[in-house]
Symmetry: C2
């Protein structure tokens, strides 16, 4: 049985989207259990309309709900120990849930996750991993915005975290890993990236197949299973790709509705366009995964609908079932040696640095 802690108050629509989303997941997965955290008076009326969710879940009343525009510090001050967001994360910490999902605001969710779960031994900073649709399937891209900048060691951590996630959700034993750079030649790029490349090539870790540098256009090609970058460039790449997809969608719509002929063509090609729309649907790839903490937290888009939220919960389910956290621990131990090369206290301190 997979137990998923749900912050029912997160996102632009709260329980009105969260509960119908859970209903879709419960329909597909009979072995799922939800621990739902939220305000009694808001969640209960919705839950009553979804008996399947009601049956598969336990509800916990929380007085406080973190708002979408709360600053991380504000959310921590007001919501620590008692908000639905905090308590959903805490359920992962105390072992009552395998994984947690929230559509709440990213900054607050990351701050609370770091404070509650702490970064793993030998990991300096958590990362946010995104699932990126490619022409070959899907890839994991990280970090897409947890922190800005990363040194070579942190990039290597991201490579270990990302390849464990790729193994967990794609079922690839030794995922290929590329470092995002401005050229594929060894002499080009940021010093940190070059250094990380050198170290990965030398270490040749068992848990991944280090491919070398990749460029921006390799992400969509699916050149590698895991694309590693620091959070500034990663966030810009992700949003630029989303923007380009929207832009082309807009071109296509305006081209198809301009003349009678193109409108007729659009009718014949309706199924083709539906397939295309599904391919381009960001909802299918909804869910930023916080990696590097002592527990997995999945962030759903705040504006996601029930289908999108369900996709994020599905992702959480897959990672819970494959015991991703245990896999990451094993990979880290293998890489760093069982004692952990790094100073543990130092690693813990770094956890709250960018709140």
């Amino acid at each position: 049985m997979i137990r998923i802690a749900i912050d029912a108050m997160g996102g632009d629509h709260g329980p009105e989207v969260v509960i119908p989303g859970l209903d879709k997941v419960a329909e597909r997965r009979p072995d799922v259990r939800f621990l739902i955290f939220g305000r009694h008076e808001t969640v209960m009326p919705v839950l009553a309309r979804y008996p399947r969710v009601e049956q598969a879940s336990e509800f916990f009343h929380c007085e406080i709900a973190v708002r979408m525009d709360d600053k991380p510090s504000q959310a921590l001050r007001q919501g620590r120990y008692k908000s639905s967001m905090w308590r959903a994360i805490e359920a992962v910490k105390d072992g009552s849930a395998d994984v947690c999902v929230s559509a709440g605001n990213t900054g607050a969710l990351m701050a609370m996750s770091k404070f509650c779960l702490r970064t793993m031994v030998s990991i300096e900073r958590p990362a946010i991993a995104a699932i990126w649709p490619t022409v070959r399937g899907e890839s994991v891209v990280l970090d897409v915005g947890a922190t800005i900048g990363a040194d070579a060691d942190q990039l290597i951590d991201f490579a270990i975290l990302g390849s464990a996630m790729a193994r967990s959700i794609f079922g690839i034993e030794r995922p290929s890993v590329g470092l995002l750079n401005v050229g594929v030649e060894e002499i080009k790029g940021q010093e940190e990236v070059k250094e990380a490349g050198r170290l990965l090539r030398e270490a040749n870790p068992k848990s991944m197949d280090y491919h070398g540098f990749v460029e921006g256009d390799d992400i969509g090609k699916g050149t590698v299973d895991v694309v590693v970058t620091e959070g500034f460039a990663g966030n810009i790449a992700l949003k630029t790709a989303e923007g380009t997809a929207k832009q082309i969608g807009q071109y296509l719509r305006s081209a198809m509705t301009r003349t009678l002929m193109s409108k007729i063509g659009a009718i014949f090609a309706r199924d083709a366009f539906r397939r295309l729309k599904e391919k381009m649907d960001v909802r299918r790839a909804n869910g930023g995964v916080f990696l590097g903490l002592n527990g997995i937290v999945v962030k759903s888009h705040g504006g996601a609908d029930d289908e999108g939220f369900a996709a994020a919960v599905d992702l959480a389910y897959d990672m819970g079932r494959s015991k991703l956290i245990d896999a990451i621990r094993r990979d880290l131990e293998t890489f760093h040696g069982s004692a952990g090369k790094r100073d543990v206290a130092g690693a813990k301190d770094a956890g709250s640095e960018d709140l």
Copy 2:
């Protein structure tokens, strides 16, 4: 009359693409003159087939041609003073041409351009500017890969250079300028970007309308006329957008050829798809512009066809006609004060730092 220096030996196809490209430009613009640099025995036979280009040009024989895989240092050593690439750039320096176009390799072209033209007083580093198609038209994005990293002063230089270019090619008196960041709030992002934002807000330069921070998805939306970023993130954003456009093109083709119905639809919608293809055509936006040197150099894609090369020459023509270099000098003087705030010697030294 606009005089354009052409490196006929650059690109994957050399004069076979360059000369037909020039023919298209000469047809559209009766007041253009070309100074063509290249190997006599390679260029002359092609030139003979294009009398319009022959009439509008002067040819200069150069023994050396820089190869597409030459390292910048190698190209400088072998090709300085005598290669077609060098001599095309030199024509801008000595005033015999208004602007230069080459499809040769970017690293060599930038190294030679810096060595020959030198960076402008008060500019520390040149930038490469790209023209980015948006849903509202086009925007200028810089730096897309001249150098990695930029401090606040360099980002401000890029803002001045980019807005002068936008004024020159879009005819907007006071182009809007955004700094690329991971969030639009003032508290987020790289320190250098935040500092540049603060300085631009305070200075409120006459030559631009400073908008604030923009995110990756704002580029394609056309939120601002000029997007400013350092070269690592800028290059990744550009290539990611190109990759995403190709990816969606591939989805679309496979969706439209899958069933009989979709194939019929595709026939009816043929004109619509042609329009879409034009919109997505990277050739229309071909041409990276080197800014910040004492002369304008336009880099055409190495793989561009004649249409693509012509687009790069058109862009050069527009910038030559609007006397972009003079406009940049005026903007820099207005911003820094007529004496130039920065140490001139220091600025010149920085020019060859990343060769």
